[in-house]
């Protein structure tokens, strides 16, 4: 495969934290990861599996100690530091608890921070802030002068997301974007992410614990454990692999759980079923067979 086929390409990446101190610890070992332009890819794994370390390589916050990271055709390495500003503009990362990073007093000022840092003209910055705020569901006219400390947790997260979208990035990386949100805000945020991927064609890479989110959003998944790849494939392939799911204690969505339980109990079902509608259809079919 040629390089240009991928928006993000990671090969044989290893990373050791605090190298050369008594506290050194290997976080990634020979990890690979690919994402095509416009794809929505999930990274799954338990705490300490290296997910966060991996995503920090995608915009050059960490540079590869060994292995290669290629983003949008640009090589990320110690010797290619001059490419970093361009890469950070095209690849944004929303970290965990992004509401902690807001520092301005007013909503619009904080969202404008990124575009202003890149020296865009004022007019365009205003345009982008407006667009980003409208997109995340904070109406520009009424919300731009709200003080940030008066916002709810869900609203703050929207501000943080808008701050990144105002950079108009090609690749958006999200680290557990819905952690700690109430169900409504969560649903809303997932829907926004889906729109970014499906309607705007941006490449989305997200880290998650929730398989419901995976089944809702992702085209493909990478499963990490102990700093190494253990599996990857389409959502259908991963959910069909019961042995894998049990071994790495991946919490499956309730729909998949149901299908697996039925299979274990001797019912004849397609093990690669996932998603609520599909499961309903399968169960209907089963019921019809039982009755007939």
């Amino acid at each position: 495969m040629s390089l240009s086929e991928f928006a993000v390409q990671v090969e044989q990446l290893s990373h050791t934290y605090m190298k050369g101190t008594p506290f050194q610890q290997e976080a990634l070992h020979d990890v690979y990861f690919h994402a095509k332009p416009g794809e929505c890819v999930a990274i799954i794994g338990h705490t300490g599996s290296g997910k966060s370390t991996l995503i920090q390589h995608l915009n050059g916050l960490l540079l590869p100690q060994t292995g290669q990271v290629n983003v949008l055709g640009l090589e990320l390495s110690e010797s290619n530091r001059c490419a970093l500003p361009e890469i950070r503009r095209q690849v944004v990362v929303l970290f965990q608890q992004p509401e902690d990073q807001l520092f301005e007093k007013y909503v619009a000022d904080d969202i404008a921070y990124g575009p202003l840092q890149y020296g865009l003209p004022k007019k365009e910055v205003i345009q982008r802030v407006k667009h980003a705020m409208d997109f995340v569901g904070l109406p520009f006219e009424t919300m731009r002068n709200r003080p940030i400390y008066a916002l709810s947790g869900g609203q703050k997260r929207k501000v943080a997301l808008a701050g990144l979208l105002a950079l108009d990035p090609q690749v958006i990386v999200l680290d557990e974007p819905t952690a700690g949100l109430d169900p409504t805000s969560r649903q809303e945020l997932l829907y926004k992410i889906k729109r970014l991927s499906r309607d705007e064609g941006r490449t989305i890479i997200f880290v998650t614990h929730s398989m419901e989110e995976v089944s809702l959003l992702a085209d493909r998944e990478y499963v990490l454990a102990g700093g190494s790849n253990v599996a990857d494939g389409t959502t259908r392939e991963i959910f069909a692999n019961r042995e894998l799911i049990h071994r790495y204690r991946i919490g499956t969505p309730q729909s998949v759980e149901l299908v697996h339980t039925l299979i274990v109990n001797g019912y004849d079902m397609n093990s690669s079923t996932f998603g609520v509608e599909e499961t309903v259809a399968e169960v209907r079919k089963l019921l019809r067979q039982e009755v007939g």
């Binding site: 916050l61 500003p85 921070y113 575009p115 990144l164």
Partner: protein, 275 residues
């Protein structure tokens, strides 16, 4: 864009490094007393010989504690600019105050004297010694041990209504949170870099701009610190924390070796002052 996101790596003060060395197992009351003595002795020591001896004792303690030397020295790195500026100021402006010995060079109020040069060298060495001692102390002693040691050493002051316990608690908490805030700082720095911030690209003479450029770090850090403080208070109060009438889970029991080590330290400190 020369940036590295690893403040935590450079901060050796406040980090604990588990181990079973002689220094690690030293009763923390005696250890604290001995280290305080050493630091006091280093502070009073005026001569080159004394300071070299001090440095030697320092390095020997690092060796005894089985701390990699490079790691212990790394803690000094962030302090280097301050050391240099301090040394320079002392060299230029303190010469007249310490005008004993030969005057090397004189221009207006700037006097370079033998006393001044000695002061610069001695005070720089002192600073290095002290930082190393404090690093060794915190690397080999957990903060709970340290606080309890401090508490028992300062206990006599309680009779004079000094709030020893509250004071020790404050110090423990402060030390405990140094690495936490360093990590927090890295996180914020990364988050801001991910949305376009670049730190350290504005030249130092544009002071206002440069100060403004760290607002995105400082403000969230303060917010987090205040939040954490509040959480800590609630956690402590919900577990029934009171500042008086507390007992402890483990009691101190000094062995002969602990006392012996203290005597060695007293001897060495005495030596430092008289050298």
């Amino acid at each position: 864009m020369a940036e590295a996101f690893d403040s935590a790596r450079h901060i050796t003060i406040g980090q604990y490094m588990p181990g079973r060395s002689l220094i690690h197992q030293w009763d923390s009351r005696y250890k604290l007393a001995a280290f305080t003595l050493y630091i006091g002795a280093v502070a009073f020591c005026q001569s080159y010989a004394g300071n070299i001896a001090g440095l030697a004792i320092c390095l020997f303690t690092v060796f005894l504690a089985r701390i990699p030397l490079g790691y212990a020295l790394k803690g000094l790195k962030p302090a280097l600019p301050f050391l240099l500026i301090l040394a320079l100021l002392q060299l230029l402006f303190n010469g007249k105050v310490y005008a004993n010995g030969q005057v090397y060079w004189q221009y207006g109020f700037v006097w370079l004297t033998e006393g001044g040069v000695r002061l610069v060298i001695v005070s720089t060495m002192r600073f290095v010694d002290m930082m190393l001692f404090v690093s060794v102390l915190t690397l080999t002693t957990t903060t709970t041990q340290l606080a309890r040691a401090m508490h028992s050493l300062l206990r006599p002051l309680e009779k004079m209504k000094v709030p020893v316990h509250a004071f020790c608690m404050m110090i423990t908490i402060a030390l405990r949170f140094v690495p936490t805030f360093a990590l927090e700082m890295d996180k914020i720095r990364k988050a801001q870099a991910a949305r376009g911030a670049s730190f350290g690209t504005i030249p130092w003479w544009r002071i206002i701009k440069r100060t403004q450029s760290v607002f995105p770090l400082i403000i969230p850090l303060f917010q987090l610190a205040l939040q954490r403080a509040e959480q800590l208070i609630e956690a402590m109060e919900s577990r029934g924390y009171r500042s008086h009438g507390r007992t402890s889970f483990r009691s101190f029991e000094a062995r002969t070796a602990d006392v012996m080590l203290l005597f060695v330290a007293i001897g060495a400190s005495y030596l430092l002052i008289w050298l």
